[in-house]
């Protein structure tokens, strides 16, 4: 206990205090535009959040974004891991290249994709135009139907490496004898994938799903850099909502309440994934 004490002190200062304090704030009507009067309002901030139709549309958008992104990450990472699990010339170089997006900070990732999507000189326009898929340059991020998908794409690009590595490590731990046994038992490539690889990957899938879901639900950086919640609120997700409430409207009380709700949603999602997938483990 004595030896744990310093760590407990550090933890309570850096972790417990902010958590408790932000919850405390969420019970006050704290506005920086009116700093002298900070009334205690019980759960009024939460009620206010729930009453705001924008909150519910942000929940829906966050859900759409998360489902799109996590699904794409799972599929791409599985394929990448399967590829890198094979022995071939250039495998080591490919795995090194694969890690690059992981090393790039989100701000740089966002700026890079902003240029790629740019309506005037973006690489995407250039590429599609030269291939004759489009006959004029498009304002990609200005299209409300495409915005979420384009941001998800930038998100997936950066998240795939970690997911791939997690799945690859799980794949490497499958004993070779299991594939031998399945071959002798008469299973073809696809059947071996379904009966040996996939079930063995379940812990890896679970890890990736929980982690990426948490990342996607709380994601802020790309929304800030690429669209600032626009156009016409098309990318106004929960994390962006927190930012707008807190730093644009300077209403710290509702901002804290929103942040708390995100934390709660994330927790519930992770919990339900563990419950449903963990059972079959």
């Amino acid at each position: 206990m004595l030896f744990l004490a310093p760590m407990l002190v550090v933890l309570s200062v850096v972790a417990v205090f902010p958590v408790v304090y932000s919850f405390w704030i969420s019970l006050f009507d704290l506005r920086l535009t009116r700093p002298r009067s900070v009334p205690f309002v019980w759960f009024d901030n939460y009620a206010q959040v729930f009453a705001d139709p924008l909150f519910w549309t942000s929940v829906a958008r966050t859900a759409t974004f998360t489902v799109m992104a996590v699904a794409a990450i799972m599929v791409i990472a599985t394929l990448m891991a399967l590829l890198l699990n094979e022995e071939f010339r250039g495998r080591r170089i490919l795995s090194a290249v694969l890690l690059v997006p992981w090393a790039i900070p989100y701000v740089a990732d966002g700026l890079m994709w902003k240029w790629i999507y740019d309506s005037g000189y973006g690489a995407l326009n250039g590429l599609l135009y030269q291939l004759d898929f489009i006959d004029k340059y498009m304002v990609w991020l200005g299209d409300t139907r495409k915005t979420l998908a384009l941001i998800a794409n930038a998100f997936v690009w950066k998240e795939v490496p970690l997911a791939t590595i997690l799945l690859l490590v799980t794949m490497k731990s499958i004993p070779a004898d299991l594939y031998g046994a399945a071959k002798v038992d008469g299973a073809n490539v696809w059947q071996r994938f379904v009966h040996v690889t996939l079930p063995a990957l379940r812990p890896g899938f679970m890890l990736v799903m929980i982690y990426e879901t948490m990342m996607a639900v709380r994601h802020f950086d790309l929304f800030f850099i690429l669209t600032e919640g626009g156009p016409a609120n098309a990318s106004h997700v929960l994390a962006w909502d927190v930012y707008v409430e807190t730093f644009r409207k300077l209403s710290f009380g509702t901002g804290a309440a929103l942040a708390y709700l995100i934390a709660l949603i994330t927790f519930l999602l992770a919990f339900s994934i563990i419950r449903t997938m963990g059972k079959k483990l």
């Binding site: 004898d177 046994a181 002798v184 008469g186 299973a187 059947q191």
Partner: protein, 365 residues
């Protein structure tokens, strides 16, 4: 029906490592063949080639008269038991056993009948709903056997199936595997590094070393008539004793000499090396080929000093220093010896082995 024929088969890996060289082997239908050798001798490679898990890089492999080199594992009528058991961890025992039949599209009722029958024979019926991680090593072993049995394959392959079991279980499983071979009446190919397992189970043993077959024969032949010193030393517990010395020939016959020790050679050996007095040879004496009750006779007795006494229950191992070399003999436990005692042991000279000192070839067989 399955006769397996290797013709000049070799296995060379891309990095140049040669796992197997010039293998010619004819495994008879319904035979129990054991591939025996130390790790890295190529025995598992040979087995994996039969299964189709490793490609044949040189030569031809036939099942009956069909060339199998290009045939993938799932088109071969073989079943295999792995050392690690390789049970599918997420499937129940029932599904593990049924998997091979499902992959081959057997009707559901047929699968159920076969799985339950195998489970009954192996006494694992109560375990059918369990997962492999809920089983003991012995139970997993049985499931692995069951998975191979239900397939009713033409060839049954086993890769060190008993080496992960404890000693007592290993011995009782040996008997069961032998029984299984008799009831299934198919060709068994069994890989092991355990000479006792090989001697108990095999119709024929193939002793391998460094990818090359050293000798093929019945357990008796391998044990009694080893072709070289490697084969002789690989079988037997404690291992055969070796003494370096020279041949000495006089009119009465040829004998082995090392320092003060002179042993007459069996007539078969004496004929083979007649007139080669002075040749450097290695003498092989099996631990059990001594008689401590016999009256010492000239040319048939070793004199030495006892260096260790190791009782092993039924009898005892005696460490004896003879002409500066430590030898081990198996003697009855009624013999009361102590460290430092001088003993005279009569050797059964008709069972002596003689090897060329340089290449280890037998000069007797």
């Amino acid at each position: 029906m399955a006769r397996i024929r290797f013709e000049g088969v070799g296995k060379r890996y891309p990095n140049g490592f040669v796992a197997l060289e010039g293998l010619d082997l004819d495994i008879r239908d319904r035979e129990f063949l054991v591939l025996l050798g130390p790790s890295g001798c190529g025995k598992s490679t040979t087995l994996n080639m039969i299964a189709g898990l490793e490609e044949v890089s040189e030569g031809s492999l036939y099942f009956d008269d069909e060339l199998m080199n290009p045939v993938p594992p799932h088109r071969r009528d073989v079943a295999m038991v792995f050392q690690s058991y390789a049970l599918y961890p997420h499937k129940s025992v029932y599904e593990n056993i049924a998997f091979g039949l499902r992959m081959r599209n057997h009707p559901r009722a047929e699968i159920d009948r076969r799985v339950r029958e195998a489970a009954r024979k192996l006494e694992i019926e109560p375990l059918l709903e369990r997962r492999p991680n809920q089983l003991s090593g012995g139970q997993r072993q049985r499931v692995a056997l069951g998975r191979a049995m239900v397939r009713q394959p033409a060839v049954f392959l086993m890769d060190e199936p008993l080496s992960n079991l404890d000693a007592a279980l290993r011995i009782s499983m040996r008997a069961e595997i032998k029984q299984l071979h008799q009831t299934m009446a198919t060709t068994f190919v069994y890989v092991t590094h355990d000479q006792a397992e090989a001697l108990t189970l095999a119709d024929r043993i193939v002793v391998m070393k460094d990818g090359v077959v050293q000798q093929t024969g019945t357990p008796d032949e391998i044990y009694e008539q080893p072709r070289n010193s490697f084969v002789a030393s690989f079988l037997g517990n404690p291992p055969i004793n070796y003494l370096d010395g020279t041949l000495e020939g006089d009119g009465a016959g040829v004998s082995f000499r090392r320092g003060g020790l002179r042993l007459a050679l069996p007539s078969r050996a004496a004929q083979r090396v007649a007139g080669q007095a002075g040749r450097e040879v290695t003498l092989g004496v099996r631990a059990e080929d001594v008689d401590e009750h016999g009256s010492p006779r000239e040319g048939e007795t070793v004199h030495g000093r006892v260096t260790s006494v190791l009782p092993v229950g039924s009898d005892q191992f005696l460490g004896v220093e003879v002409e500066g070399r430590p030898l081990f003999f198996r003697v009855g436990k009624e013999m009361q010896h102590r460290d430092g005692d001088n003993v005279a042991l009569v050797v059964n000279v008709n069972r002596l082995h003689l090897f060329d000192r340089k290449d280890g070839r037998s000069l007797v067989w």
